[in-house]
């Protein structure tokens, strides 16, 4: 069994890593990571805007965004992918590569989830911080920029990292619209080999496992460091567990 796995990796590692490139678009694991990173990078500022809208006192801002967030959370990602695949070419009038369709979907999807986390993080700081800032003469946005967001976002770094891991897992949905990512590359390998599907998919599973597990471990290390900094290096009292500052972001699928 192990011998089979090594043989397959030995033969196909380049395909799994970068897809058909240079005989086609970039694919494989590289594409998976680029897609994930890009989605998070764009989703993040988008999420901050959404969070502000949800916290706003203006109903015209609050309601549409609230509806967007609830719909995104209530509908399977698959459905959103299908919608994008249908709408994006329609709206842009061009033949859009599936990569960008998937990117748009993930930005909206992760943006909605992130905005909830950011909103919770801001609320968790309490009204006291905003009051103190306003009392000193800051405007609302000034207070947000210099007082609230720096704290909330710092506290949320672990959540962001775990959202990145979740995004890597979500990119697999691209399979249904033929995004050239790692999963697609693995199914290509399987179609060539035909006789060792178990081995191929095992390699696929283990690859994702290694990547996500490493990133999650990194997240835990960073979270511990942040918790310690924020708690002022207070010693743990008997029987007390260190409290997590971040709302849980256990994402699916």
């Amino acid at each position: 069994m192990i011998h089979d796995l090594i043989a397959i990796i030995d033969e196909y590692w380049l395909l799994l890593l970068i897809g058909q490139y240079p005989n086609g678009p970039l694919g494989g694991l590289a594409n998976t990571l680029i897609l994930s990173a890009l989605s998070i990078a764009i989703a993040f500022p988008f999420a901050i805007l959404l969070a502000f809208a949800r916290l706003s006192t203006y109903r015209t801002l609050r309601w549409p965004v609230t509806i967007l967030v609830y719909v995104t959370r209530g509908v399977p990602l698959l459905m959103l992918v299908l919608w994008s695949y249908f709408l994006v070419p329609l709206l842009t009038g061009a033949d859009v590569p599936s990569f960008f369709t998937m990117l748009a979907t993930l930005v909206v999807y992760q943006g909605a989830f992130l905005s909830e986390i950011i909103r919770a993080g801001i609320l968790a700081l309490g009204q006291g911080q905003m009051d103190a800032a306003r009392a000193l003469g800051h405007s609302y946005f000034g207070a947000m920029r210099y007082v609230i967001l720096p704290q909330a976002l710092y506290n949320m770094i672990p959540s962001m990292l775990s959202t990145f891991v979740a995004t890597i897992k979500d990119t697999t949905l691209g399979y249904v619209i033929n995004v050239p990512d790692l999963t697609f590359a693995a199914s290509q390998v399987n179609n060539q080999l035909l006789t060792q599907p178990f081995q191929v998919f095992l390699i696929l599973a283990l690859t994702y496992y290694l990547i996500c597990w490493s990133l999650t471990s990194l997240t835990n290390v960073i979270e511990r460091r942040i918790t310690r900094r924020r708690a002022g290096l207070a010693p743990k009292r008997r029987g007390q567990l260190a409290i997590s500052l971040t709302p849980n972001a256990t994402e699916q699928p």
Binding site: G74, K169, V200, L202, L241
Partner: protein, 235 residues
């Protein structure tokens, strides 16, 4: 493209039948895998708390695998991988009994069990340590303290997370489309192919999923509300 026309789909008995069948299959998957996941989660928890370090490591490994490998890939490994290396007697039996559904249930159930067991574990851990002390000081043994004091509170604490993950489980049933299970998303795609009314069928599908998700969330909110002792729940 023809104008927007929902009736073209909703008035067509063939399409409606396909939708209904899809909904049925989605619920079969969701409910079966939920039951599997919950029972397995309790078992995992029991193993974790068993004396010795092996139980803890085994469960930790199980949880780690299912949380770090994408659910879609897990399903693929089950259906495209494990299915093909099963002994022929078993795989023949499976083929005759909608293997796609069975593997969807197994794959989703095993995956969610990891999340449920972690939710329950967090719920237990967040119970004030003073509770165990108070119970022991009154003379309760470990099992008695767990049974009457810790676990009731732990489960209550875990309810919000359990509800969230139950909604996720329901939504994940759509992933079974890649292994060919005849659930709702599959039905939607089929109707799309037959009717070419992509927008309408997607809209119907979205509303259906939304409706059921909200239903589950509401039921969950009710259960959480009832479980709070201040709301008159009897022990």
């Amino acid at each position: 493209m023809k104008g927007f026309d929902l009736a073209d789909i909703l008035a067509n008995p063939e399409y409606v039948a396909m939708l209904v069948h899809g909904i049925e299959m989605t619920f079969v998957i969701a409910i079966s895998s939920w039951l599997l996941a919950m029972s397995l989660a309790l078992l995992l928890l029991a193993i974790r708390f068993a004396p010795g370090r092996i139980g803890n490591s085994v469960v930790a490994a199980y949880v780690s695998y299912h949380r770090n490998v994408p659910t879609l890939v897990q399903l693929m490994l089950w259906y495209f991988g494990i299915y093909t290396i099963l002994p022929s007697g078993l795989s023949d039996w499976l083929s005759a009994h909608s293997a796609e559904m069975i593997f969807a249930i197994i794959g989703l159930g095993l995956c969610q069990a990891a999340y449920f067991s972690e939710d329950l574990r967090s719920g237990l851990r967040s119970v004030n340590p003073g509770q165990m002390e108070a119970a022991r000081a009154l003379g309760h043994g470990y099992v008695s303290a767990m049974r009457f004091v810790l676990i009731p509170q732990g489960v209550r604490n875990a309810l919000p997370a359990l509800v969230n993950h139950s909604v996720s489980l329901f939504k994940n049933s759509s992933l079974a489309i890649v292994i060919g299970a005849p659930e709702l998303s599959h039905a939607i795609k089929e109707i799309e192919n037959l009717s070419f009314r992509t927008f309408e069928i997607y809209l119907i599908g979205t509303l259906l999923y939304l409706f059921f998700s909200l239903m589950i969330m509401t039921a969950g909110a009710y259960v959480t509300w009832r479980a709070d002792p201040a709301n008159g729940a009897r022990r």
